[in-house]
Symmetry: C2
Subunit: 292 residues, 2 copies
């Protein structure tokens, strides 16, 4: 099947065709696919946080809530330890299992590649594809341990940080730069000791309102959905430009890391044959290396 | 004074001329300076770790040890909270104060600029200048909280992580990716409770030998110096190439962030007028955006 046939089949409800198209965005045929996709608007939300904070549970209850509102939902898990793999579920993720056979829910794991687990270059293309397939909202789930969050923030909006009560998650999140890029902060498992204190500390640290939820009991989810909706309604040109800037820089870095000339340039710098500034200018093909 | 006069004065012992040259590497005249500098070899060592771990104290005792061995030493502090500023000392850094009037010790703070506090683009040029001014070793001190360490690792070799006993520093270091890039790990304040346990845990986590020191009492410094020396002796082409690669990518990212065309491209992406891949290709001036 060629790409237009796959698109027609996916729009007609074939999950298999949709899955094949999603595989294409990670392949050499990505540009070919992008060329035939319209630029449809789509809502996105990023869910991030330290391991064990309850990201997958939160994603599952969000999906249920969006489905109850009649929305078509796609989940992209940018997480090497994600319970999703190739659209199939592993393990005992009971809540998400409810959505496996729902044709209006697409669940997909996206591999992270390159330097420092940087965001897969495929993610912006995957979102554009999902928009063209008439999904209403794309949920990006990412493990919250560093650079990948900064890059996710450039793609998803809002970015929701999920943390547990206690100092541990808050410290981890702060160290990873997560608190700086989060638009919405959620304390999950809010029935545990210390949840109030953690929420107060996070509010003082970030100035953001802190939501408290118990995802496993579906408590507090309406308020989270409302906060995400408010954020979407407040989107504007300036915020879109900031996100676009970060996306471009993220893709540029991925491209440079895999540039075929990099190894030779690095070798010449190591040999003392070329200085590192001249090598950078050559790598960039004449783009200016600013002194600042 | 023009650059060649400044270089002559600095080589003749003028700290004022050396300071003015170091300011030039952070200015628009950097390329002009680099053009007249020979590519002299110089040893480097990076000292990093969480706030409060004792980085500055360790740097001070290292400087004393190197001076006792007759080496000329330069310290570049890439840290916004550094006690050094413009070559002058602030506060009560008694040990470093011993070196203020030593003409064979240069202490300089370098501002971090750009995205996520990335390594100042000036640092490689500053090191090259210091080498040309006949410093034997350049000590780079950086605060250990994230991206900057990865970039420092590309410039300094070896990278020494300074941690305190207890789980806190070790967790912070792990989260920041510091344990992955460290060549030498040091537990400072090793007379405190838990130092042995922390050293064991870090050894299990990283596979590296862990040094224990009490920097404030000058205990364990000979072993640290020996470990740094061993690392320098073991340097080879492959390691130099890896560092050069990281330096080139770091400089390229800084250059792209300040590219004059970026704002317009981001605006066009935000307006839906251009896709993010095409914008990236234009930013890179034809450099290939790899599908992977």
């Amino acid at each position: 099947m060629d790409i237009s046939e796959l698109l027609a089949a996916a729009r007609g409800g074939s999950m298999r065709a949709a899955g094949r198209l999603l595989s294409l965005v990670e392949s050499e045929r990505r540009d070919e696919l992008l060329a035939v996709l319209p630029a449809s608007p789509v809502r996105t939300v990023g869910i991030t946080g330290p391991p064990g904070a309850g990201k997958s549970t939160t994603v599952a209850v969000l999906v249920s809530a969006y489905r109850a509102a009649g929305l078509r939902v796609a989940v992209l898990a940018v997480d090497p330890s994600s319970p999703y793999s190739g659209g199939a579920l592993l393990g005992d993720r009971i809540r998400m299992a409810a959505h496996i056979n729902d044709p209006d829910v697409m669940i997909r794991s996206v591999a992270t590649r390159g330097h420092l687990g940087g965001l897969a270059a495929a993610v912006p293309a995957a979102i554009r594809l999902l928009a063209a397939l008439n999904y209403d909202i794309v949920v990006l789930e990412t493990v919250g341990v560093g650079q990948s969050e900064i890059e996710i923030a450039a793609v998803a909006d809002p970015t929701v940080a999920i943390l547990n009560p206690g100092a541990g998650d808050a410290i981890q999140a702060a160290k990873a730069g997560l608190l700086e890029i989060a638009d919405i902060i959620v304390v999950n498992k809010a029935d545990r000791d210390g949840a109030e204190q953690t929420a107060r500390d996070l509010h003082i640290e970030t100035g953001l309102p802190i939501l408290k939820i118990i995802a496993a009991q579906n408590i507090g989810i309406e308020a989270l959905i409302a906060a995400i909706d408010d954020h979407h309604r407040a989107d504007n040109d300036e915020r879109r430009s900031i996100r676009a800037r970060l996306q471009i820089l993220s893709l540029a870095q991925s491209a440079l890391q895999s540039h075929p000339g990099l190894a030779e340039l690095a070798g010449r710098v190591a040999d003392g044959d070329l200085d590192v500034y001249a090598a950078t200018t050559r790598l960039l093909g004449g783009a200016q290396v600013s002194p600042r």
